[in-house]
């Protein structure tokens, strides 16, 4: 039922843009209902995703992976391609059905919640791609971020603009017209508008220049200092581990190394195998 590549002739109707509109189509099942939230065990970290097993089809991608983040901490997931880094993040966000394992946020077991309700529970998610509303202005993007908020969100918007002055100057411009780095800033800003307790970033620096990357990491540190926990998947492992309070090296969907960022950077085995010397 999907737009697969069947060569010529196959599935042509899906490409006729005069009758079907595939731009911006969703992948998340919005009709799934949430289950109940239960209090989790005492004295757990702020985010505790334990022993996650699951995948998209029959084969599991996650094989007992555990990720925890404390309040105000920056946690970074690194690992080789196909290690299940992004999948782990999606599982934490409820975009993937887990066969085993649990996700606990702020003392509550939220394993049964759908992604929408996890946003309300305090998770903010910045996808790797398609993470802004391209035809809407920067300001409208931020307003949509605050969609679930009933209160006055102008102060949060001012904070976001203060954090990212470059996009503040372009608040009336369509987000799709911005450069990759600025678009990434809008995407992070949109997620911050919900006032999340945990901000999850899926490869925020993919495709941006090293200077922009450094700046983005600086901003992420600033965000963490306000008490928001950060969980981030990164390809640029070395730079990301430099700012990480805790780092997870995943291999084949399981934890291989877990330590502070600095310790992982100092670990000769991690350096040789995953950081290219």
């Amino acid at each position: 039922m999907s737009d697969g590549n069947h060569g010529f002739g196959g599935n042509r109707g899906m490409r006729d843009a005069s009758i079907v509109n595939t731009a911006g189509r969703g992948t998340i099942d919005g009709t799934r209902r949430s289950g109940p939230v239960r209090p989790g065990p005492e004295a757990a970290p702020f985010l505790a995703a334990r022993d996650m097993r699951g995948g998209y089809g029959k084969a599991d991608i996650l094989n007992g992976c555990t990720i925890t983040v404390d309040r105000g901490q920056i946690a970074v997931i690194v690992g080789p391609n196909g290690a299940g880094k992004s999948t782990a993040m999606k599982a934490i966000f409820g975009m993937l059905d887990l066969r085993e394992g649990s996700v606990q946020l702020d003392g509550q077991d939220i394993s049964a919640l759908n992604p929408q309700d996890r946003v309300r529970a305090g998770m903010g998610f910045v996808p790797q791609t398609s993470n802004v509303f391209p035809s809407m202005t920067v300001e409208e993007n931020l307003q949509m971020g605050a969609y679930i908020r009933e209160d006055d969100f102008r102060d949060t918007m001012d904070q976001v603009y203060a954090l990212f002055p470059a996009v503040a100057a372009k608040r009336r411009q369509a987000a799709g017209e911005l450069s990759g780095g600025q678009r990434q800033q809008v995407a992070v800003g949109r997620a911050l508008m919900t006032r999340p307790k945990l901000l999850m970033l899926d490869e925020p620096t993919a495709g941006v220049s090293p200077i922009v990357m450094d700046e983005l990491f600086d901003r992420i540190i600033e965000i963490a200092r306000t008490g928001i926990s950060i969980l981030m998947v990164e390809q640029n492992a070395r730079q990301a581990l430099e700012i990480a309070d805790v780092g997870y090296v995943l291999v084949q969907g399981a934890n291989r190394y877990t330590d502070t960022g600095a310790a992982l950077l100092a670990n000769p085995e991690v350096r040789r195998t995953f950081l290219g010397g």
């Binding site: 999907s2 998340i28 099942d29 992604p115 802004v132």
Partner: protein, 335 residues
């Protein structure tokens, strides 16, 4: 050379009819473009939604007439319109519940929804015929002219007359107001922005807490309101005939595509482009040529195309646009 009379003739026979027809197409195309942009498929049932909506409005009009209700010079259909919209919207929401929601749930390819809408089109088509029959129906009561030919001639002393029918005037006013309201809704209100956000990026809209099913319902209601308005105004202006509404789907789609599918501004512009071309190409220019070039007596009527072929105009414009500017005049979402 008689420029004043030529201008009045152009205004009377080309500009006014084309503007009214263009507004009707624009309202129809706005609905098509909204469904394309937000629900992500071309709704072939749109023409027949117009038809059944107008049929309901006509039945309500008859009911109100039987009750002795009168709006003075205005047609009673205007009073029946809001109720007709509500009933048709209910019907369309029921269709969504019974047909389209299933395909959304199984994440069917949009082409499947297009085909489903073709089925709904035939169903609505049959329902309309059962409801009101296939005959031509005129339901414009009240005053006929806002400016009549005699009045105009008496005022200006020109030999050429100009008539503005009340239905044409109402069409322009209603279309103008609803476009204004729609654009304001989409650009200013929280719900309107949520609809645009959903159109841009479904997943991200979901992650921002926007309820997708609510956006879908809102889109159907707005598109139906526009369709019933377009259908009623078209019926008041010309007449109601179920088959004509099935046929009008073509110029409506041409308008939406010419303007750029998914772009509301484009839909309005496209409606007028199609209407003006259709009227200009099928109008016999002999009389106007006579005013502008005195003493010239052309052989034929100076009509480029006989009115039977007016749909060819939509086709040609559609092909030219798809060849040279597939995204439409205003960059729509079809890229």
């Amino acid at each position: 050379m008689d420029i004043a009379n030529a201008l009045v003739a152009i205004l009377n026979f080309v500009v006014i009819p084309a503007a009214a027809y263009g507004s009707q197409l624009a309202l129809g195309a706005l609905g098509v473009t909204l469904i394309y942009g937000i629900l992500r498929f071309s709704n072939f049932a749109h023409g027949d939604t117009m038809a059944i909506g107008t049929a309901i409005v006509i039945l309500l009009t008859w009911g109100l007439q039987a009750l002795g209700v009168s709006l003075g010079p205005l047609p009673i259909a205007l009073l029946a319109l809001p109720i007709g919209i509500a009933i048709t919207a209910g019907l369309v929401l029921l269709t969504d519940r019974l047909v389209y929601r299933h395909y959304r749930r199984v994440r069917a390819d949009p082409i499947v929804l297009v085909m489903a809408s073709t089925g709904v089109m035939f169903l609505m088509n049959g329902l309309t015929r059962l409801l009101i029959g296939v005959d031509e129906i005129r339901f414009d009561d009240g005053a006929r002219f806002l400016i009549s030919v005699q009045q105009f001639k008496a005022w200006t002393g020109l030999t050429e007359g100009l008539a503005l029918r009340l239905s044409q005037f109402i069409t322009l006013v209603v279309a103008g107001l609803s476009c204004w309201a729609l654009f304001r809704f989409l650009n200013r209100t929280r719900s309107g922005k949520a609809m645009r956000a959903y159109s841009d990026n479904e997943d991200l809209a979901l992650l921002s807490g926007i309820d997708p099913e609510r956006v879908v319902r809102l889109t159907w209601i707005i598109a139906t309101a526009l369709a019933v308005m377009a259908g009623t105004l078209y019926g008041l202006d010309k007449s109601f005939k179920a088959f004509n509404y099935f046929q009008i789907l073509l110029p409506i789609f041409a308008a939406a595509i010419v303007g750029g599918l998914g772009s509301p501004t484009g839909a309005v512009a496209g409606g007028f482009v199609i209407a003006f071309s259709e009227v200009a190409v099928t109008y016999p220019w002999k009389k106007i040529a006579g005013y502008l070039v005195p003493g010239w007596q052309p052989e034929g009527l100076l009509q480029l195309l006989s009115t039977e072929y007016k749909f060819a105009v939509s086709f040609v414009i559609l092909i030219v646009v798809l060849l040279f500017r597939p995204t439409g005049l205003f960059r729509g979402k079809s890229f």
